[in-house]
Symmetry: none
Subunit: 191 residues, 4 copies
DNA sequence: AATGAATGAGGTTTCATTCAT
DNA sequence: GATGAATGAAACCTCATTCAT
């Protein structure tokens, strides 16, 4: 039932999606929606929350099956992200295209995602035996990674001929090189 | 006068910003807003459009003064981006946090930004004498770059103690290394 | 419920009647009006349309019960017209005083009225074995008949002491004489 | 200058005609309109009043030049009415199609018209040496005459190929026969 | 004298939300 | 328990009307 809500939210955005349309699409009556979710925001939250959970679960499983190498874990997690996006276009639209600033109650979910990426980055850095980075630096890079991931996924929506693996690799090749380059900066940069 | 509109749009988002509030914040009456901009969408468009123009102008000037090296140009442009964001928080919020998919008439502006980044990347690759990339690959990386830039800027809003230069460098060091790494991939990658 | 709408429309005219007032007069809320009729124009149309239908139905029944003589039919129809006006002052005001040129969707109703009168006139002429009239002539006379009927009804509103039969006869005596006179013009007309 | 106001009023009706449009059509500024006419209603009144005056003046002159016969006078006045309508379509639309119930201040003008017709009818009846009619009867017939005239003029707008004389004669032949018939009713009417 | 610029007041319309059945 | 019917509140927008230049 959240399924249909997500579809409508993805299509029209939060504000232009009317409870009437959602109720009709879900095949139930409006008062039912209210009895289950309390309000429009409640419904939205329920949908976004569930989607986040699914996404994170998918990533968790992929990471868990990826062996001990932090780099392999980041690769697996990123790949899982794109697999999820590929299979849940609506959810991606609602989660990442709709609102830049997730309403207070959703912030934790987004934070978990960022922390996860940050943790991977940190371990990679440590494994590379480079000088350690500040937490802020790592957090910023994790955000950058997620932003790049989001944008490539966005771009993917208009280039559906590519596989999840292909787009995942685009991000990974770029991002991994970036991290490695930060670990061992080249001695001289010609301006 | 667009100034105040932007402030309100940034605070509440397009939908929850009421013309009443904008008019009051701007110190004029609602009919004036309509006489100048025709509609709420017209006002929004005017603000976003002007902001985009300022941002792009800033980037253009920085790039023009950066010498012939494509890498230096990308650095300069990226730096200008953060300078603009630092000085126009409201505009940044409205331009990049509000809507994932800019309404039809605004698409060209966003496209110009992406093309600009893509062009820089392409030249860097060519200068590195690496094997050329497909246009799709370049476009995707340009989007990734912008997405990372957006996210770091977003993160910056919550860490205002950093200078524009510092955050700019974070993106640049990471991104440049990524591009360079893609040009000359390391021979072996331990999985 | 259209009842009250008609009352308000009759009193203020279409433009100066506010949906607020109609809703209050009808004892329901504005959104109900919109849920039933879609828009102010929809409400207006519904009222006018229903009124036209009632009027025409009344005339039809009277004509059907009037025997085969075309003159008797015209008398009966005209009488029914005044009976309706007498019992539906508001409807008359809205139908015939408000707008000279009924909006596109209402034109057919008015046309039916005019055609009906024209048909009666034509048969009377034919029965009188006068030389036939052109369709344009008949159409113009039908309009004249309706215009005279409307004006007498209008005048009746300020002279409510008369019965429907009395005013009906005024029109009929005058109009019938006019038609008959046209059928058999007097040989000489002193200028 | 009233000329243009009339044009706009005729085209859009009183309510949908905006002062902006009238001012622009007249080539002056809105504050000028207000300085001359005080309000929208004032402007409307000025236009309608002037038009009525012109119409009545035209009728007066025609009647004055028509000789002593009351019937000839009615013919001349009616003809003048159609001449005026033919030459002032806009004025006709505003005077007779717009509002069934002329705002208080305009009632006298319309009344003068009705009285004039009523007086002619009365004299014709007297000249015919028929039994006199009640004032109410005469007033009603005068209204009927005007209503028929209005409707035929209305119909004329859609049949502009006819001359003013032709449509005028249609009304006169019918109406005169009606009056004469009322003076000397036929002895028997076959039902 | 003449106007561009400004506004107060009010209209239609839409929804998230809740009764009464 | 489930819903059709109902509504309060507010949004956008327009226009007759006036002020300050």
């Amino acid at each position: 039932m959240l399924e249909m809500a997500g579809r409508v939210f993805a299509q029209h955005g939060f504000h232009d999606a009317s409870m009437d349309e959602i109720a009709e699409a879900a095949g139930i009556s409006k008062p039912m929606l209210y009895s289950y979710f309390g309000s429009k925001e409640g419904l939205y939250f329920a949908y976004v929350n569930q989607s986040y959970r699914e996404l994170i679960t998918g990533i968790d499983q992929a990471v868990a099956g990826a062996g001990p190498s932090p780099e392999a874990q980041l690769r697996a997690g990123t790949h899982a992200y794109y697999v999820y996006v590929g299979e849940h276009r609506h959810a991606f639209r609602v989660l990442f295209r709709e609102m830049g600033d997730p309403g207070g109650e959703l912030a934790p979910q987004r934070l978990r995602l960022a922390r996860r990426v940050g943790a991977s980055i940190e371990e990679i850095v440590r494994a590379a035996e480079a000088r350690p980075w500040t937490p802020a630096h790592i957090a910023a890079l994790a955000e950058a990674w997620l932003g790049a991931a989001r944008s490539i996924a966005d771009w993917w929506l208009d280039h559906p001929e590519l596989s999840a693996e292909a787009v995942s690799d685009m991000l990974l090749d770029f991002g991994m090189a970036g991290i490695r380059g930060l670990c061992h900066p080249l001695p001289a940069q010609p301006a």
